[in-house]
């Protein structure tokens, strides 16, 4: 099984490509939770995520002949970028197979880090199959995303940094997809500091580890559905599972809306951009998904920052809705001069700001002499939204909330 010595050996190799990322105390999240919350900003890592650590350790431990033959992997995410940059920095040729419809930003980023991108297949499985074909035909070494001891050891270097940067830590919280990160981190932490608790977090729509731990054998989901694409895996790996069973104290889940709120809080309050998988640990802390004491020192590992800009826009809008700062609704007006004016006066008196109005007299769903209006407004919070709706209804408008 993976040992502290493996992780410590990895550290000397990992510094060749990866940086030691900062740790920050968060006044905001400490005040919100009563705990003493620290953030490990691994979203500031090169390539924007921790994957470069494991990839570097895997590639540097290959023989000279293996390095000369090059590496290959399949991924549409952070692993692709981690392998690409690690390989190019170490002078090793890399081919990364990505599904044909992989997000353009990820394809471009992977290319920019110096790898050859091969677009193949409709999904990850087809891409992986093609990558294994290249492994055989071109004699390349396949770099696994998590189920590999050298990869796990590389990710574990994050655990060493967390102990050094926050020696008073009581609990470390880490997200879990395939389990490579948490198995490395738990190994580093438990060997040094058995008193430090390690908590794993999965997205509800991709949770398999709680079931696996309960059954004592790996449970594989039929499908996954979460905005946290970095941990959207159907099962954990065999090697990581062994380590997790022995060294992880607790595993909890968080929902996508909870993850989205954590992304938004990190952006708005901490001014830092984190992807869904990276925000899940903070979401678990904010939702008190596990017990912690007042002033307990908690490190949330923000493992990556590669969130798609479109996803981010959706997260921002949903966050505004959930905190009552944005409302979208439909109502019906008599189609006569002044009708829109009257509606706007009510809104203005309620002190809501209008973002957008769409006025449609041609909708087939309503009377010929009426008009449908869709409004998007900036509001001050849930009480303000309730007050606004009351005022509209008191003035005879039916309000149909759209978000």
């Amino acid at each position: 099984m993976l040992s502290l010595a493996d992780v410590e050996a990895a550290r000397e190799r990992v510094v060749r490509t990866a940086r030691e990322t900062p740790m920050r105390h968060s006044h905001t999240f400490s005040a919100m939770t009563g705990a003493d919350v620290h953030l490990k900003l691994e979203n500031f890592q090169r390539t924007g995520a921790f994957k470069i650590r494991g990839a570097t350790n895997r590639i540097t431990t290959l023989s000279a002949a293996e390095q000369a033959a090059g590496v290959v992997t399949a991924s549409a995410g952070n692993h692709a970028q981690g392998v690409a940059l690690a390989a190019s920095r170490l002078g090793v040729d890399a081919k990364i197979v990505m599904p044909e419809h992989a997000p353009i930003s990820k394809v471009n980023a992977t290319r920019s880090y110096g790898a050859e991108v091969v677009l193949h297949g409709h999904d990850y499985s087809e891409a992986a199959e093609h990558a294994h074909m290249l492994e055989r035909e071109e004699d390349r070494t396949y770099v696994p995303a998590f189920a590999d001891e050298q990869v796990m050891a590389g990710q574990g270097t994050l655990g060493l940094e967390m102990l050094e940067q926050c020696p008073g830590v009581d609990t470390v919280v880490v997200s879990v997809g395939g389990g490579g990160l948490i198995s490395g981190v738990a190994t580093a932490i438990k060997a040094n500091r058995p008193d430090v608790r390690v908590v794993g977090v999965q997205a509800e729509g991709a949770a398999s580890l709680p079931q696996s731990l309960e059954r004592g054998e790996i449970y594989e989901r039929d499908a996954v559905d979460t905005m946290a694409d970095g941990i959207a895996t159907r099962r954990v790996g065999d090697l990581p599972f062994e380590v997790i069973q022995e060294r992880v104290d607790e595993v909890v889940t968080v929902s996508d809306p909870e993850i989205a709120m954590a992304v938004l809080y990190l952006l708005e309050r901490s001014k830092t951009l984190v992807e869904g998988a990276g925000a899940a640990p903070l979401a678990a802390v904010l939702q008190e998904r596990f017990d912690y004491a007042d002033e307990e020192t908690i490190v949330a590992c923000l493992s990556g920052g590669n969130i798609d800009l479109n996803t981010l826009t959706t997260v921002i809008v949903r966050g505004l809705v959930e905190t009552g700062r944005y409302v979208k609704f439909e109502t019906v007006l008599k189609d006569r001069p002044g009708a829109l004016d009257d509606l706007i006066s009510v809104i203005s008196a309620a002190k809501a700001n209008i973002y957008r109005i769409q006025h449609d007299r041609s909708s087939r769903d309503i009377d010929m002499n009426a008009a449908e209006v869709e409004l998007e407004l900036e509001t001050r919070g849930h009480d303000h939204v309730a007050d606004l709706i009351d005022k509209l209804e008191a003035n005879g408008y039916e309000v149909d909330l759209l978000v």
Copy 2:
């Protein structure tokens, strides 16, 4: 005139409320420019901007009697939050006057930092007038946003940190609104290191300093128009202007689209959220608005991170448009079964992803037997957009670009 001793004295006071913010080397922006670019992450400052430094120095240098009587100021922005938190940490009562229609997020943030918010007036001038009335009636001390030596000295502590954190610096780039920040920073830098160049940056839509320097007297604009609300001032202050004339080497301007692109790059590549005023210095570097040598060590001061989430959403969408990753257009279909299918096949063959389609058969602008379609697509860059439009036109569609 403001001296290094003033700034050094301020430093001992400023640490009571403000943190020393980190400096980061940026591989991305160094590669993009050929210079050695470092980022001073003042967006990580408490309250999200540098203003707490000056406010703290002003408040701690008041007499005990003045502190007991409390302070007052007018602001709809970062100064409001800086004074609010500085005062509450120092145990001084603060009233902050904000215009009635100030952004809700700023009002809430200012309250959360422990100040009493007074909503008064339609614009900043009316709010300021009311604040000066409170100054007289309640015997409070007015804390100016920039035209005050203690405020300028407090902001100057940022300059001391930049010299210490990046001793090899050749050029420091700082944004300019009223001039409080740059006058403090230039004082700290020129007294210690006269060889270090200090460059000021204004938003085109709020530029007054280049004209003022040329004339040798302060020029005041009639109006301002920029997304960088933190530096949207009509003129610089008298005291800052004196210092700027003597100690700032160069002043340049950047446009709003250039600022927006810098905000987007910082978010996407550096995973950090910066407001318009905070991104302006990086925009000036990226646009080579001033000359610099290969490998010249440049520190861009990211002075704040309090960007409105709605503004941010707009910035993201505009950034996607400018980099060819989002396109929105309108076209007209024959209104017959299969017409939409045909259009979608062309788009799909061109490998663009569809975000949103709006299909409207009732528009009054077109023939009775036609339908208008509005499409929003994800694309791979400008070449891909051009290729897509070619393919649509070759298939007989007229394409009317909407963004």
